[in-house]
Amino acid sequence: MRDIAIKLEGVWKIFGERAENAMAAVAEEGLTKSEVLARFGAVIGIADVSFDVRQGEIFCIMGLSGSGKSTLIRHINRLIEPTAGRVEVLGQDVMRLSEPELRAMRSEKIGMVFQHMALLPHRSVRDNVAYPLEIRGEPKGRRWEISQYVLSLVGLDGFEDRFPSELSGGMQQRVGLARALASDPEVLLMDEPFSALDPLIRRQLQDQFVTLSEQLHKTTLFITHDLDEAIRLGTRIAIMKDGRIVQIGTPEEIVTNPADDYVRDFVQDISKLKLVFAHTIMEPLQGDAVEKFAQSPRVSEDSDLDHLVDVAITTPHPLVITDAEGKDIGVVSKDRLLRGIQGGK
């Protein structure tokens, strides 16, 4: 079985009439964004992006608006043609596919969810969900069976025969999700699916999405402008700025070890309670200090700060951190704990 589902290598996208020339010049001379704009009247959308997405993981791409993340995700199913670089999905070079092959890949292997739902207003919920299947030429009975099942997966039993306009925003986006799942794709592309929703509904849908992905194990590329969301959902996170990827890592890596000031700014306001673990902030124990900390409670090294706080409240003593075998390996004083919560100043 393949391990890597999506692979991007040096992908560039330049918008403008003379994109090809601009690309050549960029490759040779290494022009900056503003130089390209001045010389070719072209705008760089994506600059030299490479990453791999592993089978079954949720890969989040986080960036502010205009950072090129929505452009990037459209390269995966070639809704936008890259100016340079290589895009590989499930081991196939997307750029080499013929028109029918590309369509087949889109309708069978890749599902997509859109920021503004993009439901078809003239079709019922059932027909919306069945749309990818209809394009594939499935018989109607099969279409109905699958759409009913997928709708039940997203918790919309009994809404099959409504029209999208009769549903709330959150429900509409669940229809969008169901539509993406209907063709049982191996890859899910989600373009800021929850950002148009109210905070409360967004939270609900995030939870539901986590549950669903645990159940279905779809490789997911998830775009968001909300770092909280990226951290909540992502197995790994890529942070984008001005068309470039600034940092790729797990949520904890990003939070505890930001690559530059830009990322640090983002991370600053993120609550570390659930993201940072005891072994990251502890002071390693030197020598034999068992007696010194005899009254201290013992906490395992992979408990998060939240748990440490819970324990620390019950005792006046510092906490002793133990490894998997129950051996004392470090100590966390209250001062250290507070600094840890602040983000390790």
Binding site: P139, G141, W144, I146, D184, Q204, E214, L216
Partner: protein, 518 residues
């Protein structure tokens, strides 16, 4: 939320999908013959392509079945197709297709026999030459007679062809009906799932209406087409022409009476318009042409920039070189008078309609009507009251040109943001101050668009008004149309076109300038 499903960690959705049985819901939809439709629709849904299942009920009852099942689109198709086939069939079967040639043959035969008798009589008298001439006649008649008889036979034989063709078409149509019925009904069922307003089941009212329509239309149509000489009332509306003439005459009388009674009023209006028009004609027609030309060009340049000015010069040169100058200026005067009056009357009306919901509710259908009506129709009441000539032409143009300016003034004023008006009121502005200082300037782009449309509308009618003697360029076109003088017509047509484009560009330039730096 759906935690209970966690345990069945299936990778593939396709394998996990449970079977869906639509039979019950189809039964609820079809009601009558529910089991049959449950079966057929399940079959149709389980195949991707075309599924042929013959519905005997639909095939036999055709349009009536469709009507009963609420498939009205199908009903119309079936009814018309069947009717066409049936007409062929019944013409072949019952209609005396050879009747016309046979009647002629009989007539010819009579003549032939009469001529033969005369030949005999001539021979008896010993008038050989006369007899020969008559005999030649008789031969000719005989030939014609034989031909007619042949034709009659042929036509009668064609009857068989018609029967075969009609029968074939009928059976074919029935076949199509039977096969398409279930597919169409399944589509309807899918729609019913999402939209419960779609009527379900077998509707007796639908069936009755369908059957009534089919019975009535089929019988009359078959009667009308089959019987050689159907009763007159079937072919033409059974009404005497007298109604028409009487009513037309009384309308004439009413108009004449009104014209006499209110002569002063109508003459007053005509006089006022004439006065305005005379003023404009002095400016456009009587002022030396170089002055007018320079003025227009300068105007174009100031309002719309050098490119439009160049175009204007070209257009004016064309008009002048081909000798249309005076007529074009006459048209422009007419147009000026008409659009001036439209703006002067239309803008206050527009303001009023923007203010008063009730007035607008009354006026809107009238405005719609004014624009829907073919422009020629206006000309009639106007010539009735005002006679022919230029002032009536202007009046007719006004009827056509008023709606856009009224409509767009109202629209523009209504689209002024409510908060801006509120702000103006909050500072103690009077209605008049709000209107002139806030609403009008904000509605100006829309009003200017209205003026532009009004002018173009007026132009198109000023040209048509040549029909009632309003002269100008339209007259040339009219003459060209009447004598099919294409060259002349095209030249005049271009002159009008240039007028229209120049005016349009000028007004649009004005609009852009009015928007200014804002």
């Amino acid at each position: 939320m759906i935690d209970h499903r966690r345990e069945n960690r299936s990778q593939s959705i396709a394998d996990a999908v449970p079977h869906l049985d639509i039979a019950d819901s189809v039964r609820a939809f079809a009601i009558q013959r529910g089991d049959y439709y449950a079966r057929t629709m399940t079959r149709i849904q389980s195949h991707a392509g075309f599924v042929a299942i013959f519905n005997w009920g639909a095939a036999i009852f055709g349009p009536v079945w469709a009507a009963a099942r609420g498939l009205w689109g199908l009903f119309w198709c079936f009814a018309i197709l069947e009717l066409m086939a049936l007409v062929q069939l019944s013409q072949g079967l019952f209609s005396d297709l050879g009747a016309v040639p046979r009647a002629r043959a009989e007539r010819l035969e009579e003549n032939y026999e009469r001529v033969l008798a005369r030949v005999q009589a001539a021979r008896d008298r010993g008038d050989e030459t006369g007899a020969d001439a008559l005999a030649r006649n008789a031969d000719r008649l005989q030939a014609a007679l034989e031909k007619a008889l042949d034709q009659a036979q042929e036509a009668a034989a064609a009857g068989v062809e018609l029967v075969i063709f009609g029968l074939f078409a009928f059976v074919l149509i029935k076949g199509i009906e039977g096969i398409s019925a279930n597919i169409a009904y399944e589509k309807r069922y899918s729609r019913w799932r999402a939209d419960k307003r779609v009527r379900a089941g077998f509707q007796w009212t639908g069936a009755a209406i369908g059957a009534g329509f089919v019975a009535l239309v089929y019988s009359i149509a078959l009667y009308g087409f089959t019987v050689a000489e159907p009763a007159a009332f079937v072919r033409t509306f059974p009404v005497e022409k007298i109604y028409y003439e009487e009513i037309a005459a009384s309308i004439d009388r009413a108009f004449d009476l009104a014209t006499i009674q209110f002569g002063v009023f109508f003459n007053g209006i005509a006089l006022g318009i004439r006065f305005l028009l005379d003023g404009l004609e002095v400016i456009f027609v009587q002022t030396p042409w170089p002055v007018v030309m320079v003025a227009i060009t300068l105007f174009a340049w100031r309002l719309a920039g050098p490119r439009v000015a160049v175009f204007t010069v070209t257009a004016l040169a064309y008009i002048a070189l081909l000798g249309f100058w005076e007529k074009a200026m006459e048209t422009v005067s007419l147009l000026g008078a008409a659009s001036f009056l439209c703006v002067v009357i239309g803008m206050p009306l527009g303001v009023w309609f923007a203010r008063s919901e009730r007035a607008y509710a009354v006026a809107r259908p009238v405005l719609d009507l004014m624009q829907t009506l073919p422009s020629f129709v206006y000309l009639i009441p106007i010539i009735a009251f005002f006679g022919t000539g230029k002032p009536p032409g202007i009046l007719a143009s006004m009827v056509f040109g008023l709606p856009p300016i009224i409509r767009l003034t109202t629209l523009g004023l209504r689209e002024v943001p409510k908060d801006v008006i509120e702000a103006s009121r909050a500072f103690g502005a009077t209605h008049w101050q709000t209107l002139t200082g806030v609403e009008m300037p904000l509605a100006l782009p829309s009003i200017m668009t209205g003026i532009n449309q009004t002018i173009l509308m007026c132009l198109s009618l000023v040209v048509i008004a040549a029909l009632i003697d309003a002269k100008g360029l339209g007259y040339d076109i009219l003459v060209a149309l009447q004598y099919a003088a294409k060259g002349q017509g095209i030249l005049a047509g271009f002159a009008i076109l240039f007028c229209a484009v120049v005016i349009d560009r000028l007004v649009q330039g004005g609009i852009k300038r009015g928007k200014g730096p804002r």
